[in-house]
Structure formats: structure tokens, C-alpha cells
């Protein structure tokens, strides 16, 4: 943490530490990215992704975004890539046999498109951007020549004491609704994953489970449980002690197959039914 703080403060001043930080992390990031794209082993590729993400976290530090840096490590490297690895393990496909495509035209085409786009992007950025040392430079000029107000992140952070505070303040004031929506999005995504991830094996239907013998047995058990509960309530014994181990599966079974009709009332109700307790005095549960 000491190092982190120092690096951050160095970056803020635009000192030499930032330059070193940038070149180290940038080269590793790019290298690991290329490695990820070309590696045949998927697990290795995923590990390369982790490396890449960590390097980007490092670059965030240079950009005075310590909050993002930490989030990047926790969420991306920690959670998302782990999820990737889980899926790879689950499916048991660590080797990618599909990489060696016979279609060389497509491979060449893919690389060509990538290089072309890179060239285009670099051309848009232009050579000037690399020589401009200031954060607020020639770019910050409007069409009529007036300079834009470019106070730089430093001053903003100085106003808020640190970058985490700044981001937090923005997140909960200006971007509150977006923040709420993102929470909703996560819930929806979770539900979506649940729905999608469920196995579509033919489930045992209710009709298969229903047989009258079981139903009768269940009725007895329910009745006796009610009686037992009544007894317990009368004696003041805690309910948990009353319910034996075998009661739980019965209840589950009941819930799956017989969660309808007039049994439900007895099943979930902890209150005793005097009529039933009178009918079946034997206490099988305890």
C-alpha cells in the first residue's frame, strides 16, 4: 500500500515513476493480450487474461484512478476470470482444437482487419498526441480558439481529498439512477443465468409422484405432527426439539408432490388442530 500511495502521488505529479509504470504495465498488457489470443490452451489463455487485467489495473494507478484499479482487481481478475475458469473446468475443455483452422483466408483476413483498424485508430489519434506532455494541451481548444476549462483531475481530487471520494460522490449524486439501474441489471442477469443454466432434463412430474398410499401416510404423519406440536405448545418445549430428523424429508416430499389441496394448511401451520389431534393420539414423530 505504501508503494501504491507513492506511485499514485508520483503519477499525480507526472514524474518519472509514472513513465516507468506505464511502459512496464503497457508492454505486459499488450503481450499478454496477444498471448491470450494465440494460445491453444484455454486455461493458459484465461491466465493471460488475468495478467492483462492486472496490468490494466496498474495503468489505472498511473491515471490517478486508484478506485478503478482496485475494482478492476477484485471484480475482473477476481470474479469474472474465475467464472471463466469455472466454466472451462465444468465443461472439461482445456484444449482448444478449433484454433488450427484450415481456413487460412479467414485467419489472414482476421489479422488484416485487426491491423487495418489499429492503423486507422492510430491515424485518428495522430502523432501529436504522443508529444503533448500536458494533460491540458492543444486538444483542449474550441473551434473559436478559446481554451476549454481544463482543470485536470489533480485539482478535482484535491477538492475532494482523494479519488475514491470523488468517484463515490459522483456515483451517488449525479449518477444515482444509473447506479440503481445497474443494480437492477445485476439482478436480472442473475435470474437470467439461473434460467439459462438450469438443466433441461425431464423433471419428475407431480403425477408420477402421487400415489394414494403415500398420500395416506402423509396425512397420518401430518396429523401426528400436529398432535405433537399441540403437546409441545402445551408443555412449553421448544419446537425444534420436537421435530425429529425424519420429519424434514417428509415435509420436502410433501411440498414437492402434494403442495396442493387441504393438506397445505396443516403442513405449514404450527398451530395444532384439535380435531386431528383427538383422532390420532399416537405420536410417531417423537
Amino acid at each position: 500500500m505504501q508503494l501504491l500511495a507513492q506511485v499514485t502521488s508520483d503519477a499525480a505529479t507526472g514524474g518519472g515513476a509514472e513513465v516507468i509504470l506505464f511502459w512496464v504495465f503497457a508492454s505486459i498488457a499488450l503481450g499478454s493480450g496477444i498471448a491470450m489470443v494465440t494460445m491453444r490452451n484455454i486455461v493458459h489463455a484465461a491466465l493471460m487474461l488475468v495478467l492483462n487485467l492486472l496490468c490494466i489495473a496498474g495503468l489505472y494507478l498511473g491515471l490517478q484512478s486508484s478506485f478503478l484499479s482496485i475494482v478492476q482487481v477484485i471484480v475482473y481478475a477476481g470474479a469474472i476470470v474465475v467464472l471463466f475458469l469455472f466454466v472451462i473446468m465444468l465443461l472439461g475443455v482445456s484444449r482448444d482444437d478449433l484454433l488450427g483452422t484450415k481456413n487460412t483466408t479467414r485467419t489472414v483476413g482476421a489479422v488484416l482487419v485487426g491491423v487495418l483498424l489499429a492503423g486507422g485508430l492510430l491515424a485518428v489519434l495522430g502523432a501529436d498526441s504522443l508529444t503533448d506532455a500536458s494533460a491540458c494541451g492543444s486538444l483542449a481548444v474550441e473551434g473559436d480558439g478559446t481554451e476549454l476549462s481544463c482543470i485536470g483531475l489533480d485539482e478535482q481530487i484535491a477538492g475532494e481529498s482523494d479519488s475514491v471520494t470523488l468517484v463515490g460522490e459522483r456515483l451517488f449524486t449525479r449518477w444515482t439512477y444509473a447506479f440503481e439501474l445497474s443494480a437492477l441489471l445485476l439482478v436480472v442477469a442473475t435470474l437470467g443465468a439461473l434460467v439459462l443454466g438450469r438443466r433441461k432434463d425431464p423433471a419428475i412430474s407431480d403425477e408420477d409422484v402421487v400415489d394414494h398410499e403415500a398420500e395416506r401416510a402423509l396425512a397420518e404423519i401430518t396429523a401426528s405432527r400436529a398432535a405433537a406440536t399441540a403437546a409441545v405448545v402445551a408443555e412449553g418445549t421448544p419446537l425444534d426439539e420436537m421435530l425429529g430428523d425424519d420429519s424434514t424429508p417428509v415435509e420436502d416430499h410433501h411440498h414437492d408432490g402434494y403442495g396442493h389441496g387441504d393438506h397445505t394448511g396443516h403442513d405449514h401451520s404450527l398451530l395444532p388442530d384439535p380435531g386431528q389431534s383427538a383422532d390420532s393420539p399416537t405420536d410417531e414423530d417423537s
Binding site: 498488457a29 499488450l30 487474461l49 490494466i56 478503478l68 475482473y76 471463466f84 484454433l99 494533460a135
Partner: protein, 99 residues
Amino acid sequence: MPIGYYFVIAALMFCTGLTGVLLRRNAIVLFMCVELMLNSVNLTFAAAARQWGGADGQVFVFFVIVVAAAEVVVGLALIVNMFFRRGTLDVDAPQLLRG
């Protein structure tokens, strides 16, 4: 450190990820490449936030991460589903949309 360097590295990473998307047929790797592209864009946001002195760029990155997390959850569920149904991770295999 000139901000342009961050932009350049982000652009290069983006194109790397893009090449991967076009190159690889394995759904999981393809997905990882998409993540790479997302991250390069995040880097651009953070760099721009630094350049223009706005914390909003960082907030944007935060939201992109949230969306990416959601996307990964759903996307991986889809991939698992696809694998169970088709027994392959080849994204070229399903061609139901072929005209």
C-alpha cells in the same frame, strides 16, 4: 506522461481483442477476447477522464465493469447451455440464421 500513449495502448489492445474475436472459434476464448476489448475501452475512458479532469469518466468505467459482469454471467450460462445441447463450443457450428 502524455495521455496519447494510453490511447495508443488501448487502441492496440482493442485491435488485439478484435483479431481474437475474428480468429478464434472457441466460444469461451471468443468471450475472453470481448472482455479484452471492453477493458481497452475502459482504459480509454480512464485516460480521457484524466485528460479532461472529470471523475465522470471513472464512473463510466465503473458502470462498464458492472455491465460486463452481468454480461459474463449471462454469456457463460449461454455457452454452457450451448455446450450441453450441441456438444461443442464451436461458434460456427450453429447456423440456424443461415439465409
